[in-house]
């Protein structure tokens, strides 16, 4: 089966500390004022004292049908064979079509390079057998990454065991971040 790289994010384990955002900035030299990933909060919902708040980390969804790729006039935005969506800088002309096209607001114009910029799945780390920086540093083991098609991967095992959801499925992008909101007592062993 083909490789399909993606993320599983367990929201019940996120404490909104934002270590993932800072780790990404360091690993990928993300300029101040921009970010490749995020932690969104539901805000405090309900009425005092019956309230709740949920945190939802995210980044590029590395979609099955990425609109950023189809709108790119130069072929700079690409979906690799392993499913990772990247920007080939040498081909990017900075037209920003892809930034507008992304329904997840996962891209930005890098003020230093003038190119479209986004989560690369930390390719430079994957090549060394390391996890993406955001996953590596996550205190709550909320973030997981791997081959969704490999039944031996942590991400596939999590999806098999717990109900999961994706964001904005109705726009037809086929996002490859799966969210688990349930309590996950133990992270399975796996690749």
């Amino acid at each position: 089966m083909t490789v399909r790289m993606g993320f599983v994010i367990i929201t019940s384990r996120c404490i909104d500390c934002d270590a993932c955002m800072v780790a990404c900035r360091a690993e990928n030299d993300v300029p101040i004022g921009k970010t490749r990933n995020w932690v969104k909060s539901s805000g405090v919902q309900g009425e005092f004292p019956k309230v709740k708040e949920v945190f939802q980390p995210g980044n590029c969804m590395h979609c099955e049908h990425p609109p950023c790729v189809s709108v790119c006039p130069t072929g700079a935005s690409q979906k690799r064979a392993d499913g990772i969506v990247i920007v080939e800088n040498s081909k990017c002309i900075g037209c920003k079509y892809c930034i507008t096209a992304c329904p997840y607001d996962a891209r930005f114009a890098n003020p230093e390079t003038g190119k479209a910029d986004k989560c690369t799945f930390c390719l430079q780390r994957l090549e060394q057998g390391l996890k993406p920086a955001c996953v590596q540093t996550c205190l709550g083991k909320s973030r997981h990454a791997g081959d969704l098609n490999d039944p031996e991967s942590v991400v596939a095992k999590l999806i098999a065991k717990y109900p999961s959801r994706q964001l904005l499925t109705y726009v037809g992008t086929g996002p490859n971040i799966y969210y688990i909101d349930e309590v996950v007592p133990e992270i399975p062993e796996g690749k």
Binding site: C17, Q136, V183
Partner: protein, 738 residues
């Protein structure tokens, strides 16, 4: 005549700004210090070392200092530039993970606002006018002033302050050699109530907590999701995921509360009513561990008498938590015993009665007998920590004179090593029992930390001499006469750190970028200039570390390479777990020392003040993205937490006509600030909350200057006479639209 600079001029001088990565201070600086071959972390590192050397990449294992938790770090250095910090999987304090602050250590290192060379004040104190000095001049000047003060007024007129850093033991040697009794930590602003409460109950100031096996946890002041203590935060998340019942008492819906099973928005200052009522139920219903109480405690009968009146119905009126809820929690807690913990916390509600709260918590744990049991409290690990080699030095001169901070003459229960820093500040101003003249402050920021900021600034203005050691122009450094710039934690050595059977090292990841020194060498060279060199008998940092490592068959080179050393066949000794270091040798439900002082010896209710009409409780606390007053100038962290806001309940905001991000004015008896509002349902309507540490007054912190507002500008100085703890929450404020 030396040239005089303002802060902005100092920082804009191009030659002192870090060269573009790898040019000015590039490859030679980074690689020159430690040959690449010996700097790789052990094989257990999460970062493979493969052919990194050939690409100018090396990895160095060291210890974080973005807060005081001392996590293990593996730094990736490329051509002399630190590119990435990652958690050391072998370090128990963080097991491979770094929090946002730890990840942002690179920005602390490369901040354009680092102090790059010694500075001597060249205008009025606090004017921000400085001239550059050589190290020799700065140290000679500092030592000269310190000698002058000692000769004229005695050593006691000099105060020495430092907070929880790895080289603090050496700082303590310096101050003892100098001969002053005046030593200021900042503990009284933090958790004096907890440490004294537990100390006078168990003889242990800060027992551990076994999160891994705990089945029922009550937090009343340990917000681990926002006050991150890395491994404990991880353990808390796992504990919650495992299904442990977690009850959080907090007037504010903290992020820890959002993850908990149950949030109880307790009225500020009344946590002890809740715990006294829990004690009442557990005793009434005989849910306690009789054998444990008989064997290990004293004073149970007195406790039974005292808590009789503290019924859940009584407590409900005080703390506004329903009596039925208190009863249920008492029963659930006892049913989970001994794998149940009423957490010792750090700060609880920060009232004068917090000592009583902590005593009630300490006693509650004792009643269910969770001491040294799986899922319960863990006895002090002091005896189970590897011992370092010690330096021999001449006997210290006797420290003469009473302490300015009132310990023990005003605060007999407060240990000397904790102190009461806010009283030290007050007595600089009163001149009682004698006039203070000089202050040496290492990595501490009293101007922003002590309540009543203006009073603290006034105290600085009164002194003859102030010297500050820091990496950046903290508010306190800004008001100094001389700044001795410390190398950042990624550029220096500190004293070795034993944890259990392991010994860890902080070592330079790159050579210092600027003309800075380690604290170890600043203390040492200052001692030399004071004629006290014999007390700090080492040539340089590596000489000291080699001496600390002497008891073990490993060289410093090997330790640097491996990042830590495991003491072989280290036998943990649990035989003293039940030898309580109290007056009676037992867990003191009824405290002998309190009785001797003529105070009520068992935990008791002490009615806290409450705000009058139109006033609100002012609460302060932490955010996960910043450390105390230290990181607000870190631009990477400002990206994830940009400034503090005043949390207002929706109903309060509606009354004022205020929306989130509108500015409001908070005013207390001692100060007034303007701050953006954050409107939320997640706070009691009688409270206003703000994260501490913002509102810097130093123009040398160019990103943080005037960002947000300072809680210390509002806080009144209120001190618990028993623990010396600063009762920060006994400050009430009015709020109006700006």
């Amino acid at each position: 005549m030396a040239k005089i600079f303002t802060w902005n001029q100092l920082f804009s001088r191009r030659q002192f700004i870090k060269g573009a990565a790898g040019t000015v201070l590039g490859a030679s600086a980074g690689l020159g210090l430690l040959a690449p071959g010996k700097t790789f972390a052990g094989s257990s590192s999460s970062i493979p070392a493969d052919s990194a050397e050939s690409r100018g990449i090396k990895k160095v294992t060291t210890i974080c200092e973005q807060c005081v938790w001392r996590c293990g770090v593996i730094a990736r250095v490329e051509n002399g530039v630190v590119k990435k910090l990652e958690g050391n999987p072998d370090h128990p304090n963080n097991v491979g993970k770094l929090c946002p602050r730890g990840n942002a250590g690179i920005e602390t290192l490369y901040s354009p606002d680092r102090i790059k060379f010694p500075l001597i004040r060249a205008g009025a104190r606090g004017s921000g006018l400085w001239r550059r000095a050589s190290w020799d001049e700065a140290l000679t000047y500092t030592a000269g002033q310190m000698k002058k003060i000692k000769d004229k007024y005695g050593a006691k007129a000099m105060m020495f302050n430092s907070t929880d850093n790895l080289s603090q033991p050496l700082f303590e040697i310096l101050l003892k050699a100098y001969g002053t009794p005046n030593y200021g930590t900042q503990r009284s602003l933090c958790f004096n109530a907890m440490t004294t409460g537990f100390y006078y109950t168990y003889g242990v100031p800060q027992p551990g907590t076994d999160y891994k096996n705990c089945k029922y946890m009550i937090f009343a002041g340990r917000n681990l999701a926002e006050g991150i203590s890395n491994n404990e935060t991880q353990e808390m998340i796992e504990m919650i995921a495992r299904g442990t019942k977690v009850v959080v008492l907090d007037p504010r819906f903290s992020k820890t509360a959002s993850k908990a099973t149950e949030w109880l928005p307790v009225r500020p200052g009344t946590d002890s009513a809740f715990f006294l009522a829990i004690l009442n139920v557990i005793i009434q219903e005989k849910l306690y561990n009789q054998d444990f109480i008989t064997t290990y405690t004293q004073g149970f009968d007195d406790l039974v008498q005292e808590v009789k009146e503290y019924t859940p119905e009584w407590a409900e009126k005080k703390c506004e938590i329903p009596g039925a809820t208190i009863e249920r929690i008492a029963r659930e807690f006892a049913a989970a015993a001994p794998a149940a913990i009423a957490h010792p916390n750090w700060r609880t509600s920060n009232f004068k009665n917090s000592f009583q709260t902590e005593r009630a918590i300490a006693v509650l744990n004792a009643l269910i007998g969770n001491w040294a049991k799986p899922g319960g409290l863990i006895p002090d690990q002091e005896i189970n920590t590897a011992k370092l080699g010690v330096l021999s030095h001449p006997p210290f001169p006797p420290a003469q004179g009473m302490r300015l901070d009132g310990v023990p003459w005003q605060y007999p229960l407060v240990p000397l090593s904790y102190g009461v820093i806010q009283t030290m500040r007050d007595n600089i101003l009163t001149g009682k029992p004698y006039e203070a003249k000089g202050w040496l402050i290492s990595r501490q920021n009293p101007i922003l930390s002590i309540p009543e900021r203006q009073k603290t600034i006034n105290a600085f203005m009164k002194l003859d001499f102030v010297a500050v050691i820091d990496i950046q122009a903290s508010d306190t450094a800004y008001y100094a006469d001389v700044i001795l710039p410390e190398s950042s934690y990624l550029e220096r050595y500190d004293g070795l750190v034993p944890i259990g059977d392991k010994i860890f090292i902080r070592q330079p990841v790159i050579e210092p970028l600027y003309d800075t020194k380690s604290s170890l060498m600043i203390y040492k060279e200052l001692a030399d200039k004071l004629g006290l060199g014999d007390f700090l008998p080492y040539k340089d940092e590596r000489d000291l570390l080699a001496k600390q490592l002497k008891p073990y068959p490993i060289s410093l080179d090997e330790l640097e390479k491996a990042g830590h050393y495991v003491v072989p066949n280290f036998q943990k000794d649990y035989s003293k777990d039940f030898e309580f270091q109290t007056s009676s040798g037992k867990i003191e439900l009824s405290s002998s020392i309190m009785a001797q002082m003529g105070k009520k010896a068992v935990p008791t209710w002490d009615e806290p003040p409450r705000p009058s009409q139109g006033h609100y409780y002012l609460l302060t606390g932490k955010t996960a993205q910043h450390s105390q007053m230290f990181t607000q100038n870190n631009r990477w962290l400002l990206e994830v937490f940009s400034e503090n806001r005043a949390w207002l309940h929706t109903s309060v905001a509606a009354k004022l006509g205020v929306k989130t991000d509108d500015k409001v004015i908070l005013e207390s008896d001692v100060g007034k600030v303007t701050i953006k509002a954050q409107v939320t349902e997640g706070i009691r309507p009688d409270c206003i909350f703000m994260v501490g540490g913002f509102g810097h007054v130093s123009k040398g912190l160019r990103s943080a200057y005037k960002l947000g507002a300072s809680d210390s500008a509002l806080h009144k100085t209120v001190t618990d006479p028993l623990s010396g703890g600063s009762a920060l929450s006994e400050t009430f404020v009015t709020v109006s639209k700006a």
